[in-house]
C-alpha cells in the first residue's frame, strides 16, 4: 500500500506544521523581525538533526525501500538563480506568510481563500516555465 504511506506522511506533516504554528502568518513575520527564537528553533533543530540523520543513513549503508542506497539528488551548480529566485520567493513568503507546504495545510484548516494563493502560485510556476530559457541561471 504505497499510497497509504505517502498519505500518512502527509497527514503527519500537516499536523506537525499546524501544531508548531509554522503555518501562521504571524510567526513568519515575527521571524523576519527577529523577535522570537521559535521559527529559528524549528528550522535549526530540523536541519541539525537532518544533517545527522542523512549522514547516519548514508554511513550505515542503509537501503531505501526500493533497495537502493540512500541518496539525495544534488541541486545544479549556480548562483544567480538561487539568490534571485530565492529572494523572489522570500517576498512572497513574507507577504502570504505561507510557503508551498503550509498553503495546502492551511486549506485543510478551513482557510479557503488560500485557494487563490495556490492558483496564483501555479500561475507563477507556469510563467517561470515559459520564461525559463530567457532568465539568467
Amino acid at each position: 500500500m504505497k499510497v497509504l504511506r505517502y498519505l500518512f506522511v502527509g497527514i503527519f506533516f500537516g499536523i506537525v506544521l499546524v501544531k508548531s504554528e509554522a503555518v501562521s502568518w504571524y510567526r513568519i513575520i515575527e521571524m523576519f523581525k527577529f523577535q522570537s527564537f521559535h521559527m529559528y528553533g524549528i528550522i535549526g533543530s530540523a536541519v541539525i538533526l537532518g544533517v545527522l540523520a542523512l549522514w547516519l543513513m548514508k554511513k550505515s549503508g542503509m537501503k531505501n525501500t526500493e533497495g537502493n542506497s540512500i541518496h539525495l539528488v544534488p541541486k545544479d551548480k549556480g548562483f544567480v538563480r538561487y539568490i534571485l529566485g530565492g529572494s523572489i520567493f522570500g517576498f512572497g513568503w513574507a507577504l502570504a506568510g505561507a510557503c508551498p507546504g503550509p498553503m495546502y495545510i492551511l486549506l485543510g484548516t478551513g482557510v479557503f481563500s488560500m485557494l487563490i494563493v495556490i492558483a496564483a502560485a501555479v500561475l507563477g510556476t507556469f510563467v517561470y516555465g515559459v520564461l525559463k530559457d530567457k532568465l539568467p541561471h
Binding site: Y6, V9, G10, I11, F12, F13, G14, I15, V16, L17, V18, K19, S20, S24, W25, Y26, I29, E30, M31, K33, H38, I43, S45, L49, G50, V51, P74, K75, F79, Y82, I83, L84, G85, G86, S87, I88, F89, G90, F91, G92, W93, L95, P100, M103, L107, G108, T109, V111, S113, I116, V117, I118, A120, V122, G124, T125, F126, Y128, G129, V130
Partner: protein
C-alpha cells in the same frame, strides 16, 4: 493528552519535521513541496507551452498524495488537536502589527485582515493574495525549491545551492517585512 492540544514547542516540532524528510528519503523520494506546483501545471496541459512541463508527471503522483495528506493533517490538527490557545507572539510583534492595522495578532492562525472574504474581495486584498502566490510560485521554481527542498533537505544534505537559496529567502523576506509591508498595509 493535554500536551497534544497545546501548541508544540520548537524542540518537538523541528525534530518531527526531520522525521518527515527521513521517511520520504527512506521511501526513495525527497522532501520538496513546491514540485507539486510544477506537476499541477503539467497535469493542466502546460506542456503545450513549454518543454519545462513536458516530463513524466505520473512519476510524481506520490507527492500529490503527500499534499492530500497535508490537507487532511491540517483539518485533523485544528479539529481534534487544538484547544484554541492564542499564538504566544512577542508583544512587540503584536504592537508593531497593530500599527499596520492588524488587530488581535495571534488570536487566529492567519490575519483576518488578509484572508477573510471581506478583505479578499477588495481590489487590494485580491492583489495581495494573487501577488504573494505568484511570487512564491515563480521564485520557488526559479530557485529550484522552497523551504522543504532547500532549507530543510538541501541544508541537511550540506548543499551550497541550498544555502544560497535560503540566504535569498531571507533577503526577500526581510525587505518585504521591513520595507514593503509598512507601505502595503499602512495606506
Amino acid at each position: 493528552m493535554d500536551f497534544l492540544l497545546k501548541p508544540w514547542p520548537w524542540y518537538v516540532s523541528g525534530p518531527l519535521i526531520t522525521l518527515v524528510m527521513v521517511f520520504l528519503v527512506y521511501f526513495g523520494k525527497n522532501f520538496g513541496m513546491s514540485s507539486n506546483l510544477r506537476t499541477l501545471c503539467s497535469i493542466g496541459g502546460a506542456g503545450k507551452y513549454a518543454d519545462f512541463f513536458r516530463y513524466d508527471w505520473k512519476a510524481y503522483r506520490w507527492n500529490l498524495i503527500v499534499v492530500l495528506g497535508a490537507v487532511i493533517g491540517g483539518f485533523i490538527a485544528v479539529t481534534f488537536l487544538s484547544d484554541g490557545s492564542a499564538i504566544d507572539l512577542n508583544p512587540q510583534t503584536i504592537a508593531d502589527l497593530q500599527q499596520l492595522g492588524f488587530q488581535d495578532a495571534g488570536a487566529t492562525i492567519l490575519p483576518p485582515e488578509i484572508f477573510d472574504w471581506d478583505a479578499v474581495f477588495t481590489l487590494k486584498g485580491m492583489a495581495i493574495l494573487i501577488g504573494a502566490g505568484f511570487l512564491v510560485g515563480f521564485g520557488t521554481r526559479y530557485a529550484g525549491g522552497c523551504t522543504s527542498g532547500h532549507a530543510i533537505s538541501g541544508l541537511s544534505n550540506l548543499q551550497w545551492p541550498s544555502l544560497i537559496a535560503v540566504i535569498g529567502f531571507f533577503i526577500g523576506g526581510l525587505i518585504m517585512t521591513h520595507f514593503l509591508l509598512p507601505l502595503i498595509f499602512s495606506a
